[in-house]
Amino acid sequence: MEKRNQIWSFIITGVLILISFLYYSVNEYYMYLVVYIWFGYAYGMMLQYGRFCFASASRDLFAAGVPRMAVGILIALVFFSLIQAALAATDMTTFHPAPFGIHMLISGVIFGIGMVLAGGCASGSLYKIGEGNATSILAVVFGLCLGQAIFVNIGGPFLKLVPQSWIDSANAKTWIPAEKISSWFDYYLTGYVWDQPQFTVAKLIFGGRPTTMDYFIGNALINAIIPSLILLVVIYFFFSRKGFIKKRAKEKGKLGLGDELKGIWAMITASKRTSLMGILVGAVAGLHILVIKGMQLRFAMGVSTPGTRDANNFGQLLTRMGHAADVTVKGTVFDPGYWYITSQEGQVGAWLLERLGFNMHDNMFFGYVNGIPELWRNPALWMSLGIIFGAMVMARLSNEFKFKLPKGELIVWGISGGLLMGIGSRPSLGCNIGAFFIRAAGGDPNGWVYGTGMVVGAFIGVKFFNWWSERKMAKEMEAF
């Protein structure tokens, strides 16, 4: 390891430790925020070490026939689903299912195209910033931050596209301050999405109050483990079997079922660092939920603040500390309670746009649901920063950090991909992490609907890049 990289790793980690102590010295409530910093740091290290990028899962399958990442994610899902079931069964979870519907699929397709163009998913782009990849900075700043913020705030001519049924349904919700419903997204949220059913498989099958075993059967086994195992077998048959069986038949001659199982195992263990990180990512994501829940219990956040509907939200602590301007009219800020990427980046975009003179509080997304806290008091934003710095430390420890300025076509791909990711993560209320990974593992079938969309989008993105690269290769080969 280069000495310079070692020193940088110590400096980054040391500064984060110092920041954590500073927060604690100001107010114990900030420990809630510090928890997000360090889970983000852990995610960043694991993502960088395992090259763990959701974009690469379907993209590398279609582009290069490589199942490494798809396998890693499915392993992570299996482990995470078991932990989520245990947490749900013991009432120690912060997870909640999302409104179910076709919007998840459409959103997933848009996000899927975007992640292929940008060269990384929402979490992947963050860890790649930590590796020094400035194309990912473009994707995050212009797409996930500014693009998202503008997307949820657009009104004007776009309001003419809003169906009357959404307007009627939004207006019927009289508890919402009317002045907050101003953009097309506000009508979408209040007049459509909030009317869709929300459920987990355990509750759908077993009714109101599932038993411990019901959570494991419904949410983990049926919604996560069985689909993951089926997908592993499908991926093996289409992308991995041919090469393995050819080699095996040369060595052994006649083959049976045992050889097929060995083939699946060989596929799982082909990239040990990715598969190992799959297990760890699943376990840490589960631990993250447990720790946040523990903090909510410790700070007695389980009771709604008078006049609001949302308990267990960092907005309560901000209000207690006197930062009322950071929270929404109902006293909340964006506080997912688990691994989540995109909304906090939208908040950064809104924060910047407000400093440029735009009013970003006059809508539902920021004004009523998520707020625009000062950046240093934004808990989920610290998770994103933690991912960047965790990945940076890991990249430096393995001498892989290199600052790369984007040039030429990469600028176009980075910005356009980022914008599509920003747009594709809003109607679904989440990205590859919040909409796919957490939900699929938490018993919410929405995760798979969004995941299917992501795969379709990735397929379209790969088709485009195949065409583009073929053209460029043909030019290069003219000289031969």
């Binding site: 090259r51 590398d60 490589v66 060269g119 990384g120 790369k404 990469l410 890049f465 290769m473």
Partner: protein, 83 residues
């Protein structure tokens, strides 16, 4: 940053995709191998660490042999023989 795919001599190629990020290095590597004959050798130079893992697995799955993996500064150089 510019894509460079050169035929150095008969059966020996060079692909330089430094500056490119995912998924370009792996796509260009796959396409280069498709253009070559069995037994030909290529040096793939790239600086996007995430692509390395995918290139190795792609070679393994498609029967190509990774003869050498080198690291020079921030650059990775893989020598691959088409199988």
């Amino acid at each position: 940053m510019a894509l460079k795919f050169e035929k150095l001599e008969e059966g020996k190629y060079l692909l330089d995709v430094c500056g490119y990020v995912c998924p370009h290095p792996q796509i260009y590597c796959k396409k280069s191998l498709e253009k070559m004959n069995e037994g030909d050798v290529i040096d793939v130079i790239f600086d996007n660490p995430s692509s390395g893992e995918t290139i190795i697995q792609m070679c393994d799955g498609q029967g190509h042999e990774v003869l050498e993996k080198k690291k020079e500064g921030g650059k990775l150089i893989y020598t691959i023989k088409k199988g």
